[in-house]
Amino acid sequence: MTFASLAARNVLRNKVRTVLTIMGVAVAIVTFLLLRTVLSSWTAAADFAAKDRVVTRHKITFVMPLPKRYIDQVRQTPGVKTATYANWFGGRNPNKEDQFFGTFAVDPDTYFVVYDDIAVPEGDLKAFKEDKRGVILGDVLAKSMEWKVGDEITLESGIYAPPADSQWTFTVRGIYTAKSRAVDRSSLLLHWDYMNDSLPEGRRDAIGWVVSRVTDPSQSAGMGVTLDKLFDDQDVQTLSQDEHSFNASFLAGFSAVLKAINFVTLAILLIMTLIMANTIAMGVRERTSEYGTMRAIGFMPKHIVFFVVIEAAVLGLLGGIVGVAIGYPFVERGLGRYLEENMGTLFPFFRVPPLMMVAALGLSVMLGLLASVIPAYLATRIRVTDALRRVV
């Protein structure tokens, strides 16, 4: 028998209460993992953004277009390896209007050079480039819409009216997959030319944004300034940011939601701490007479604190282990796949980061220790003679 084994043995003294507390902690840890995974998945596009990509958009908002000629000036700027452009098409499937997915009008020749983390089979890419009405889909979108290569599909756009007396019809020419977590596997890419040619004269030759790859990733921020200077004296000014900042500024629009998730996470952790504190406090109260006995035979207050603290830490750790053991497979084998396949635009990669699991375990132990502070303090305040008088 050792001090530690004696402390740990107290955890199993009241098995029902211990199991219920562990389950309470486990549920809190599962919820913590889910919420943090939502955040990490949501911010993955920013976190895993390429370091050498710079996005140039209208200075006021990315909703306002840029003149197409800007792409040529960007490409001629020293330090820019290559550049492409795209427009938000705003398409949706009229047969499944409730399913949102990103639709972008892109330059087929340069888009996949700039976004080389999108994996397209060579044959598919060739077929896409050769067919002006062709589209390429992410594999997750293809699965959820049940579209396959060769299918004729019809889209509606909330931004661009279809060609006269017609509809926006396309042929699926390829399915892409992702090489990085930042890639949304539920987007649809169409030819910018096809969209542009179908527009009335006054709306043509406008692009949503320009994406450049720079030769020196460490100078991305400086390149942004250089590019913006190009257009300072022109009719439309720009704002250039590295991809991380651009994606982060896009996410900033959801900051209230992100804050709410953080707040809920904190509230859950607080509840978990209080649950543990309650269990520990009950245990300490029940064991007053035992602590009195131990103090009588020579144990000191620091020993009693040790017993209380270790019991709380073990309780927290067990809750954390059970929580991770439930939460990880739940996300990996169930929820994560479901969200990636059905809400891929919001959650392109919904998996529990390994570090998050370590953090959850560490947190459960830490909060266990925190929960023990007051009960441990109270345990040391017990007068030996009073404690011995307590009837068990």
Partner: protein
């Protein structure tokens, strides 16, 4: 006692050798020793007051008390007479409002909390009315508990705990939990826990209070043996005249004064 003595190899305090056994002595001899400055417990001018509901309550009043080495003393008196308070002071569980407490030459009333705890661990064995065993520990682990505070190695701790359990006749109950033992057996475990560190002094607060006559008798016999065969100084609080009869000296307390 046919049990083997504790090992003395690592800890000179543990010495239950037959040669150490004091001869059986009379009450008069112990009383004489206590007054001839051979007392192991020496209390002088002890007053103890408690605050209860805003009122100061004097439980012990200017009390002088001596106990001779190797004596077995019973403290009797009505409820509220101050018996348990006196026992707590002797055992270093409480401090007097005034007066001095000297145990084996050490002024325990002047020790700080940590020194006092260490002194209790080394010098006092406790026997409680409700046994006060830890329910999550087996009999042998309960007995081993005080040894956790000593530098004794784990294997030696276990050996000593087993020996102590043999001394109290519970060698076949070592791995039993308290809930699997009778009241008498629990009290035996408690006594084994009290003697495992080979303390100078054993204090027993109503050790037979929760037991039937037969079990109480067994426990008293055991305490008697510890006193006579191993020379342990025992101070026992009891309401039971039959229990007090087993002690060499019986003292009566009333309203905080020795009669």
């Amino acid at each position: 006692m046919s049990e083997p003595a504790f090992s003395t190899e690592n800890d000179p305090r543990i010495g239950w050798e037959a040669a150490d056994k004091p001869p059986s002595r009379s009450e008069a001899a112990y009383r004489k020793d206590a007054t001839d400055n051979d007392s192991v417990i020496r209390l002088r001018g002890i007053t103890k007051e408690f605050e209860r509901g805003g009122e100061r309550l004097r439980v012990l009043q200017s009390l002088d008390f001596d106990v001779a080495r190797g004596s077995f003393e019973a403290l009797m008196g009505p409820s509220g007479s101050g018996k348990s308070t006196l026992l707590n002071l002797i055992a270093g569980l409480d401090r007097p409002t005034s007066g001095s407490i000297e145990i084996d030459g050490q002024r325990i009333d002047q020790m700080n909390e940590s020194k006092l705890a260490s002194w209790r661990a080394n010098s006092v064995g406790f026997v409680f009315q409700s046994y006060n065993l830890l329910p999550v520990l087996t009999a042998v682990e309960n007995v081993e508990l005080p040894l956790l505070l000593t530098p004794v190695a784990a294997s030696e701790r276990r050996k000593r705990a087993q020996t102590a359990l043999r001394v109290v006749g519970l060698e076949d109950r070592m791995e039993h939990f308290p809930r699997q033992l009778s009241g008498g057996q629990e009290q035996r475990v408690s006594i084994a826990r009290a003697i495992v560190t080979d303390p100078l002094l054993i204090v027993a607060d109503e050790p037979t209070g929760d037991l039937d006559r037969q079990s109480a008798d067994d426990i008293l016999k055991l305490l008697e043996t510890l006193n006579q065969s191993l020379g342990k100084t025992i101070v026992m609080v009891t309401h039971d005249p039959a229990a007090a009869e087993r002690a060499t000296i019986t003292r009566h307390l009333d309203k905080g004064r020795l009669k």
